[in-house]
């Protein structure tokens, strides 16, 4: 176990934006919630997966609804004790700890804020190892866990407990309740035992986010190459360095689908990279050759600062480095690929791990092997 203080939260937020792979929502409001909670109640205890008792009740927390509502109608803070109290009464045991459902984007921060306020630990783990758009896209789902009983509450004090027959019903019922509550609500979802967390969660991910943020911050202070630091911490590979020469976006089926075309600079001069995204970055193709695909992580970094940028930031003239990071091994199983592989997102390609697609020479800017 170790403690997280204000600077750690700042670093985790930067790491969470990187693990958000271009989507996941801006961590900013969540970060401010966590910082205020720490200022008022003291630091957060972060516990390793191995320290969790097998029978302990672990409840992941997240915000559901429209990010544009969250930035206008910020939560109250009393939602945290309320959802945990309701689950305790329903399940007949107290909540031992919370954890993020996704380590990328704004939802990386909500559990940290709740943990500080309630003085309960946060588990150094999540259910994605990144950010994904749908409720069943978690490793707990692969392991057969149910999203319910799930509790939803708003800042006014309304609370709904969902007990459903499938995760499809959970999604449909929860979406309409969110609208009635004002477009944004807090949820406690996928209640797990300590044993289930040990078996199904992706451990060490909060620490990884923190190390990413720290690496970027320190390299700036020490005038070192921030990209090298990021790649070292994440085990990632450089896919490309280039300038955006075209971006197109269209809204289809409730999602923003789009692609950005990069023209190579420096080591990658003469090559191009096509990055396809739907909320998150999904596929990177160079001159007809797939370099990386979901569920591996594809993140765009500012060419100078190595700070992660979201898909909305991509525009003509922007200079960036595109990196790829191997996803957690659980996503590389047949059920994992079925749940979050390229075909699920509508791309007719097979998933091949990034390490097999990208040679070391390519990552250095040389020719593909």
């Amino acid at each position: 176990m170790r403690q997280l203080h204000a600077q750690d939260i700042e670093d985790i937020a930067v790491g969470a934006a990187l693990l958000g792979t271009g989507g996941g929502g801006d961590p900013h409001v969540g970060k401010l919630m966590a910082l205020q909670a720490i200022e008022e109640s003291g630091p957060v205890d972060l516990v390793d997966v191995s320290e969790v008792p097998d029978e302990g009740l672990i409840v992941p927390l997240a915000m559901m609804g429209a990010p544009t509502v969250l930035v206008e109608k910020v939560p109250n803070g009393e939602e945290f004790p309320r959802v945990f109290e309701a689950l305790k009464n329903y399940l007949g045991k107290p909540v031992f700890a919370t954890m993020p459902i996704e380590a990328g984007g704004v939802n990386s921060m909500i559990p940290l804020a709740s943990a500080a306020k309630l003085r309960i630990p946060v588990i150094d783990a999540d259910g994605m190892g990144r950010a994904f758009p749908e409720l069943q896209m978690v490793t707990f789902h692969l392991a057969g866990a149910s999203a319910t009983p799930m509790v939803m509450t708003d800042e006014k004090g309304n609370l709904v407990l969902f007990s459903t027959i499938s995760n499809h019903w959970t999604e449909a019922l929860a979406r309409s309740a969110t609208v009635v509550m004002g477009g944004s609500a807090m949820i406690a979802i996928y209640p797990l035992t300590g044993r289930q967390v040990k078996d199904a969660a992706i451990g060490g991910i909060v620490t990884l986010a923190q190390r990413i943020g720290e690496a970027i911050r320190r390299s700036r202070i020490e005038s070192r190459d921030p990209l090298a630091a990021v790649l070292e911490v994440t085990g990632g590979l450089r896919l490309f360095k280039g300038k955006i020469v075209d971006v197109s976006r269209k809204t289809a089926g409730g999602f923003v689908r789009g692609e950005a075309l990069f023209e190579g600079i420096d080591d990658y001069r003469g090559k191009t990279l096509r990055l396809q995204f739907q909320n998150e970055n999904l596929i990177a193709v160079s001159n007809g050759r797939v370099l990386a695909s979901v569920p591996d992580l594809i993140t765009v970094l500012d060419a100078e600062t190595a700070k992660p940028v979201t898909t909305e930031t991509l525009k003509y003239g922007y200079r960036a480095i595109v990196i790829g990071i191997p996803c957690n091994a659980r996503w590389r199983t047949p059920k994992g690929i079925e749940t979050v592989g390229p075909r699920y997102f509508g791309y007719d390609i097979d998933y091949v791990p990034i390490e097999e697609r990208v040679s070391r020479e390519w990552a250095k800017g040389g020719e593909p092997a």
Binding site: Q36, V71, V74, N76, K156, G157, G317
Partner: protein, 516 residues
């Protein structure tokens, strides 16, 4: 013959121009920007009016683009103490007002914070009833302890009702204490809008003092003109309006340059490169107005959601210091600023500046060229190349497509740049390029803005927009625009879902030239 006076306060110089009815430049002047700003304005005013032939009584309008408010925030000086009132409880308190503000700025504005019940949902329903009693007790508590009030209600851009009612109650209790309302200042995004509203309230005092000083300066020079302030979007505000919404003046400098460049070069769509004494700003002209940025803008370390001109700023100006280290040349980001007249080598000083290099290369004929004749030609070539690359790089960042576009070069430092730049169709150097920002202030139009919720069950959307446009035109005319020349420049409508009567919020801005 009547005249218009335009003044722009920049980081290095304060510039002034006098234009006649045909927009011809009658007189122009530059003077160093001073720490107190006001004395620099007085100096340049005296210079631009030095010609005895100018009939001062014929100066009918005076426009000021100034950094007074920006400086006050950045330097944390002369700020008003503000009562910060947020309406939205029980929502929002997980992030309290002024979270993330630098501690010194919080102290400078008094750190008086209140969150009370009220506010709306995204669809116009109420979160709760406005807590009128709490407002009255806050007013009694802060009376005499604050100079201004900032009120921000949740989803006020959708429904401003609670902010307006709060203002009415506070006025009853606090009399003339200035009140800033967030729906008049920013858009969706509570924390950023609230920050902007608090900053606005904090500079109301500075704005009033500036307005008084400007009027006083004009009177002392024997000028009886109607005074205006330039605002971020390139249009003018009457002084009365500017002292209520001073935060809207905060980025008028770059806007004035871009508008001035558009006017001088007669371009509608182009890149504008403004090279000053310390920095170069590259902006984009779209239909004669600056393209606006889409990302959150920080002012004095505080995140806001203002729409500012989209700019790339690089540390290259006429006074940028040139250094050589291990065979590598560096330019800026530090500059000798307006001390260039003494410190640059061509002016008899000892500091190697970008201007010295341009003179040595033979591009510019100012100062004493002999003093730089001994410079290493390799260094000169290398520095020149680096300066051009910096600018070309900034230009490329601002373009929206690879096609070459015209670039208008303005600002005193633009003489450093060559006539050919990569990615640029044609380099334009209009006459009076060195005072383009003051010209931008002088030629600025006046605008009027209206924001209303219409029920589209009763009338069509087109009819609602037409009514709103008429009201906006009337506003612009009231502010001094020529009724024959007022045009609608912006229409924005947001449907308010789930409200009875198909409610839509429509915002229209109209702008036109000043009536002569």
């Amino acid at each position: 013959m009547t005249y218009r006076l335009g003044i722009d306060v920049g980081g290095t110089n304060t510039d002034a121009v006098l234009l006649d009815e045909e927009d011809q430049v009658i007189s122009k002047a530059k003077s160093p920007t001073t720490d107190d700003v006001t004395s620099g304005i007085l100096d340049v005013l005296a210079k631009v009016l030095a010609d005895k032939a100018i009939d001062r009584s014929m100066i009918k309008h005076a426009m000021l683009g100034t950094t007074h408010c920006t400086n006050a925030i950045v330097e944390r000086k002369r700020l008003s103490r503000v009562a910060v009132i947020r309406i939205g409880y029980p929502a929002t308190v997980a992030v309290k007002p002024l979270t993330g503000w630098p501690e010194d700025l919080k102290q400078a504005t008094g750190n008086e914070i209140f969150v009370i019940g009220g506010g709306h949902e995204f669809d116009g329903r109420r979160i709760g009833e406005l807590d009128r009693e709490a407002l009255r007790s806050i007013a009694r508590r802060v009376r005499g302890r604050v100079d201004a009030v900032a009120v921000t209600a949740v989803f006020s851009p959708v429904n401003p009702e609670d902010e307006l009612e709060a203002a009415r109650i506070l006025k009853e209790e606090l009399g003339d204490t200035p009140i800033s309302l967030s729906h008049e200042i920013g858009s969706i995004g509570l924390l950023e809008r609230e920050n902007a509203t608090v900053l606005n309230a904090a500079v109301v005092g500075v704005a009033k003092a500036t307005a008084t000083a400007f009027s006083e300066a004009l009177r002392r020079e024997g000028i009886d003109a109607r005074a205006y302030f330039g605002q971020n979007d390139g249009t003018l505000m009457s002084v009365d309006y500017a002292v209520r919404y001073p935060i809207l003046t905060i980025a008028c400098g770059p806007t004035n340059s871009i508008r001035g460049a558009a006017f001088l070069s007669n371009q509608r769509d182009a890149l504008v490169v403004d090279v000053g004494g310390t920095t170069t700003d590259v902006g984009v002209l779209v239909n004669r107005f600056p393209r606006e940025s889409s990302v959150a803008v920080e002012i004095g370390g505080v995140r806001t959601n203002f729409r500012m001109p989209d700019l790339v700023s690089i540390g290259l100006g006429g006074g940028s210091i040139v250094r050589q280290r291990n065979g590598q040349v560096t330019i800026g980001p530090d500059s000798v600023g307006h001390r260039i007249q003494h410190e640059a080598i061509v002016f008899g000083g000892t500091t190697l500046t970008a201007t010295d290099v341009a003179v040595a290369a033979g591009h510019v004929g100012i100062g004493d060229r002999r003093r730089v004749s001994g410079l290493d030609p390799g260094l000169v070539r290398q520095t020149q190349g680096a300066m051009v690359r910096m600018v070309e790089d900034a230009i490329d960042r601002m373009k929206t497509s690879p096609e070459p576009v015209p670039a208008v070069l303005v600002g005193g430092g633009s003489i450093l740049l060559p006539d050919r730049l990569q990615g640029v169709l044609e380099v334009l150097r209009p006459a009076h390029y060195e005072v383009a920002n003051a010209i931008g202030a002088a030629i600025a139009q006046v605008s009027g803005q209206i924001e209303r919720v219409f029920s589209l069950d009763a009338i069509s959307r087109e009819e609602a927009v037409r009514q709103a446009a008429d009201m906006a035109r009337e506003e612009a005319v009231r502010a001094g625009a020529d009724p024959a020349a007022v045009e609608v420049v912006e229409v924005d409508d947001v449907p308010l879902a789930y409200l009875p009567g198909n409610a839509t919020r429509i915002r229209v801005k109209a702008a036109g030239d000043l009536a002569r």
